[in-house]
Symmetry: C2
């Protein structure tokens, strides 16, 4: 069937079910950032392949809401589908709710598949529409009967994440979760976010692109740990689970089992992670405590093993990056180098490193004006050749068995213009301002975000994204609970804790010209106890030179120059032992003191 | 009756009413910061005269919770009362709730007078205690029958705040409120915060110390404006109200009238301002929208008249301050000058200025170690003489018909120690960092707070209070909705708007030695439109020299020195025309460029 035909079928289903609108989102039952093909229903119905977008179908029309990074692509892919494109101003927002309010009559019914909507989003839709006497029905799956040849839910093998990487056994982690449950007066904890589950059970898989997670649910009580997965398990894995007192149940049984096990329980769940279908299966005798998952905070504060590992991973990732940039500088115009080929080459260098598994996200390889598109990912259609001029931005990361990386460098491919140099320097000043911060324990991400922007603001400039996100340990490259952003609502009560790994990535984007971003990962460490309380600091763990040809030294303070020189000294010391002589000489120059 | 006798009576009332605990807070039915004597029940029962404290009486014991600024005072004042002192770690918190949880049996009943508890606090108490099967009854006034000779609710005269000060007529303001009510789909707005009501109706009074407000409630519908006051009104005031279509009703009738007028209404109210007794009187047919009062935001964004006025007030307030500091420097040790006499002298200089009405809060006149007590107010018992040594901090403000001031200066009374100089300079750098900030529209107070602390943090130092609060226009010296604080929850959605007047007051406090704080008021203004959006800036409007003898110039950047020199130039230009020759010469020296 083509989009037009599918939409007609859905409209027929609306009529037979006495409904007025059907919403199809981009996510899966786990609120994942990257979803398995099985859940790409919005793509299947509309033909639009972008990662973010919501399709709304009424009896009369179908509309797709997506954000600026996909406007062009959506316009092209929707041709002939009869689907109208609605342009979203703010990514991750839900303007289609307002549209429904304004376009449906009173007493209309809006429907969707509750598995694909978080409890929070469902509540938000409901409370917005109630005022207009529009009801919601969240138990309609129109996709299942229509989608023949649908890819099945992944059943790829899983593997145990060795304790030499994880640092703590699953049994230890579960017991830690339980003691916090007892503190919080909670008897049951439902988990549906895949990275939380992978962390807790020390399992990994490749059900989803970029995130080494396993399609699963979990239910932790004070006596039992239930893992809901559909996998053929090797005997040794079965043995491990058994030894750790973990009960394996079928993935599809989560709702039934919650309904059965959870009578009269006090249940902790994260309403922005748990889907509404699970929520509805909770017996009414239960008391619900809404909070961040216990696992999310434990997972974010890396243990000593994970910290040692990530520091070693950073050396290997840095070696790959250095070899890549050396190759790029020496081969540009000698051979045809494009945004896409660059991505392949960098992946090749990473793949030469120990414990490399794959990329941690789709590489943003962006030449000149493409760099100004914040989430640009080159495709065959947009790919361009790199020339000896202008600015090249590359944001990439690797999954290694012992850690996850995420790094952005912006380099000049020829003598840069003064304006670009000044902008780069302002971004660098913001980056250093975060990296060198000392702060009292209790400080939150929303407090420090301005430090990355202040020098841009002084020059009436700014950037439109957050400054940092948490990073997993051989897990998702984007994880909570901490972050660095001007938006306080998601980190309202989240202190920076020892062991949290966060990105530090200010930037600036000049439309139609270039983008600049400098990103390292920073590890939160204790600095010292003082009469004003405990102070914390960040330790920059990413290791790759920062392009000095883009720096205006006159704009840097003495302390900033010292930070950069110290950083470059560390980069050279840690990376050079793994380079050949030519590369070593080259890196010496790149990291020479200002 | 003495405290012991009153508490015994209350314990008898607990028994006859089958209750287990009674809570007496420090506030009034309007959640005022300063309350009329009529509502000082906690003081009457306990003998403790501090501004903040909560008394809890069970059948067995009575306890008073207060914060560190009152520990000493409470210990002394509670002697012989039989009341136990509980020391609060965090001001404005409610640790007595946990105490009740841990000390009452299941099925106990906690009671209080709902008029004195906001809807938010009542909900918080209720939800905390429910888990422990403890119920609340919020309709018990035990004070009324017991307190003979109780001061009556103030019935002082009120006066109209002239349009030449207010800038907008009451009728204009009410119509502005109504258009926002229509936007928000609201048909009724209940106001109980006294400054909101005084602002809306352009009335002022002196029912409460420091705040020129009138004891009142108000109810705004799309057609009517009801003002609930018990006052003998002059004919011209009656006329004004009539002309503006404002209906006067008795103060005590608020609950009845809400119950009567508000059937089937959609009511906007601020749950942290409205008391629980009013809330309970709202008919169940109503829909409640909880939000900041519409008036609070309108009041905070000063109009052109108010802005012109405050700038003129600042000149007069600055003249009074300059004459005061000149007198202090030239008379110290010549006559006996104490913390209390200093306060009187400064008030004298302010009273010489046009339109002066009174102080805007109790002066913090704090010599040496007293300065380290953040909310120190000298009393006859604590008063000390100022000598030619050490550090003197004075935080004071005036109410003028045309505006409200709030300013802190810290001066050295002799050659200061290097450590104090360095600390003062770090505080000054933070102050300048806020004062000179340029920021994109949409920036919130919690984002910028760190700018005032960063230099202290760099040196492992900090201060334990917020950086700024809103200031009224001949109204409360503390007003919302904006503020500058590391705590984001109260300003989560509050942008800095053009016309908002906010304090900028970083500090540092060295226990048993001294306190340093530098406070000016800053007015938010539009800077300019840029390709990165609209940018805003602050304009420092307070006018008084900053003590250069406490500055280590080596710690200041070129830009910071320029800011200070520019500021001092403005101070001299605006203040000197109102000084005699000696004072003028002296100020010239105090404001000479670094």
């Amino acid at each position: 069937m083509n989009p037009k035909e599918i939409i007609t079928k859905i409209q027929e289903l609306l009529i037979t079910n006495n409904l007025d609108a059907y919403i199809i989102p981009s996510t899966d039952p786990h609120q994942s950032e990257y979803v398995a093909n099985h859940w790409k229903a919005r793509e299947w119905v509309s033909g639009f392949t972008g990662s973010a977008g919501t399709l709304v179908i009424t009896k009369e029309i179908a509309g797709l809401w997506t954000d600026s990074r996909y406007f062009l692509q959506a316009e092209q892919q929707l041709i002939g589908s009869g689907i109208e494109l609605f342009k979203m101003k703010v990514p991750h927002s839900h303007p289609y709710i307002d549209w429904l309010k304004n376009n449906l009559k009173e007493n209309s019914k809006v429907s969707f598949d509750g598995k694909l909507f978080s409890v929070s989003l469902t509540k938000m839709i409901e409370s917005s529409l109630t005022d207009y006497n529009i009801k919601i029905e969240s138990n309609h799956d129109f996709i299942k009967p229509l989608w023949k040849n649908r890819p099945s839910i992944p059943t790829n093998n899983i593997f145990i994440h060795d304790i030499k990487f994880a640092g703590k056994s699953s049994i230890e982690k579960i017991s830690q979760v339980r003691s916090i449950m007892i503190e919080k007066n909670v008897t049951c904890h439902i988990l549906s976010s895949l990275d939380d589950i992978a962390w807790l059970f020390n399992i990994r898989g490749n059900d989803v692109k970029y995130n080494p997670v396993v399609i699963s649910y979990a239910l932790i009580t004070l006596d039992n740990a239930f893992l809901f997965i559909d996998k053929n398990l090797d005997d040794d894995i079965k043995e491990t689970f058994k030894k750790n007192n973990i009960t394996i149940l079928p993935y599809s049984k989560i709702n039934d089992r919650i309904n059965e096990f959870c009578k009269n329980q006090t249940i902790l769940l994260n309403p922005s992670k748990i889907n509404n279908c699970i929520f509805r299966s909770i017996p009414s005798s239960c008391k619900i405590i809404e909070d961040v998952n216990i696992t999310t905070t434990l997972k974010a504060t890396k243990n000593a093993t994970e910290i040692n590992n990530i520091k070693e991973v950073m050396v290997r990732d840095g070696v790959a990056l250095t070899k890549f940039f050396y190759w790029l500088e020496n081969n540009i115009l000698q051979e045809t180098i494009t945004e896409l080929s660059v991505d392949k080459k960098l992946q090749f260098y990473r793949s030469q490193q120990k414990n490399f598994v794959g990329l941690s996200f789709g590489t943003i390889s962006a030449y000149n004006s493409h760099g100004a598109i914040v989430h640009y990912e080159p495709t065959k259609k947009t790919d361009v050749e790199l020339m000896k001029e202008g600015i090249f931005l590359i944001d990439s990361g690797g999954q290694y068995l012992d850690g996850t990386t995420d790094i952005t460098r912006t380099i000049s491919l020829a003598k840069p213009k003064q304006e670009a140099i000044n902008n780069f320097t302002l971004v660098l000043k913001g980056h250093i301002n975060i990296a060198s911060l000392k702060f009292p324990y209790g400080t939150k991400g929303y407090q420090i975000d301005i430090l990355a922007r202040k020098f841009l603001w002084d020059n009436y400039k700014n950037y439109g994204h957050g400054t940092g996100h948490g990073v997993g340990s051989f897990l998702n490259v984007h994880e909570g609970p901490q972050g660095i952003s001007p938006n306080a609502s998601s980190t309202l009560n989240i202190n920076f804790e020892e062991g949290m790994l966060t990105s530090n990535e200010p930037g600036i984007y000049i439309e139609n010209e270039y983008g600049i971003r400098i990103e390292n990962l920073i590890l939160c460490e204790k600095d010292k106890d003082t009469e004003f309380g405990k102070f914390m600091k960040f330790n920059t763990v990413s290791l790759c030179y920062i392009d000095k040809s883009l720096i205006n030294i006159d704009l840097l303070s003495k302390d900033e120059i010292k930070w950069l020189n110290d950083y470059h000294k560390t980069v050279y010391e840690k990376i050079s032992p793994f380079l050949n002589n030519d590369e070593k000489e080259w890196l010496k120059e790149k990291t020479k003191s200002l």
